[in-house]
Chain length 151, copies 2
DNA sequence: TAAAATTATATCGCAAACGATATATTTCAT
DNA sequence: ATGAAATATATCGTTTGCGATATAATTTTA
């Protein structure tokens, strides 16, 4: 009935879309106790790596536009995880820093990656198989950044 | 500063999340002329494969809950792409079928997959490398379905 | 140096996702 | 056959994601 290339099972993107959503779902049991969502967890990862960052830094790092990141950070500020202060050198910028609460959360979060790995390992056999696809995903991401910039 | 395992570059999920979003972005130039979004495109793929489906069928196929699919289908019905009729045997069910407009869209859409492939190929070198990760993604997805059902 | 272009962030509106809850219909148990 | 459990779908509320637009500060250009 349908064209072969239009079948759902032949769509790489559908797999990425589904894998991404289900993986975020798998984080739920670990992030709920911390009171943060998966995108907020990503922001925390970025800030735990480098304490002081502008909105631009964060949005570049996460490949998200500021119209997504700004409200995200506003909610995180309201939750007491971060502070947003005006830049001194460039007053357009906002400097984002962790609060004590945000910094302390790192200790509670440090086991999350291995918990996730263990849980997936239970159902999939080998983690090596997953690490093997990382370089391809990175290439794809780099390629798509360019593709999307052209339009 | 940060724990090694908490670094963003060590997160598989972040790659999936980013790859999925950027891929959806790459569909934009092709889906905009059709007036549909990427999730709506997925629903069309499902319906082009099997004309008559219940909400359950569609949501199982796309791994989405009905609370996502129902509003999606309502918008698609308003756009004149599908019809939703009460099931005759089981009145709880809704049978979703394509309108003429929805069916005709298949012709306009049939080149989209190869356009996407070509575009990615431009920036990444080989499509084979991408097809190689498909079995791993499928295993991951199956594993995550189970993981998420346990909680 | 004043106007124009650029840059950094914010706001708005809409479409997804998804947890929680509600409603209607069917099936099951007694 | 009737009340209870299960099933299919819908609704509500919140957070994301993102295009479009606005605002404020900086840099560039004439």
């Amino acid at each position: 009935m349908a064209y072969e290339q239009l079948k759902l099972d032949n769509q790489l993107c559908f797999r990425l879309y589904t894998a991404a959503r289900l993986t975020m779902g798998a984080y739920h049991p670990y992030l709920d106790p911390l009171g943060i969502t998966y995108p907020q967890y990503l922001v925390m990862l970025v800030l735990w790596e480098h304490e002081k960052q502008t909105i631009m830094d964060i949005s570049h790092r996460l490949q998200l536009d500021t119209n997504t990141v700004t409200p995200l950070l506003q909610r995180m500020e309201k939750a007491g995880l971060i502070k947003r202060t005006k830049g001194k050198e460039d007053a357009r910028q906002r400097i984002v820093t962790l609060t004590d609460k945000g910094l302390a959360m790192q200790e509670q979060a440090k086991h999350i990656p291995e918990c996730l790995s263990a849980e997936i390992l239970n159902h999939i056999g080998s983690i090596e198989e997953l690490t093997k696809i990382v370089p391809t995903l990175d290439k794809l991401i780099e390629g798509l950044k360019q593709t999307n910039n052209e339009h």
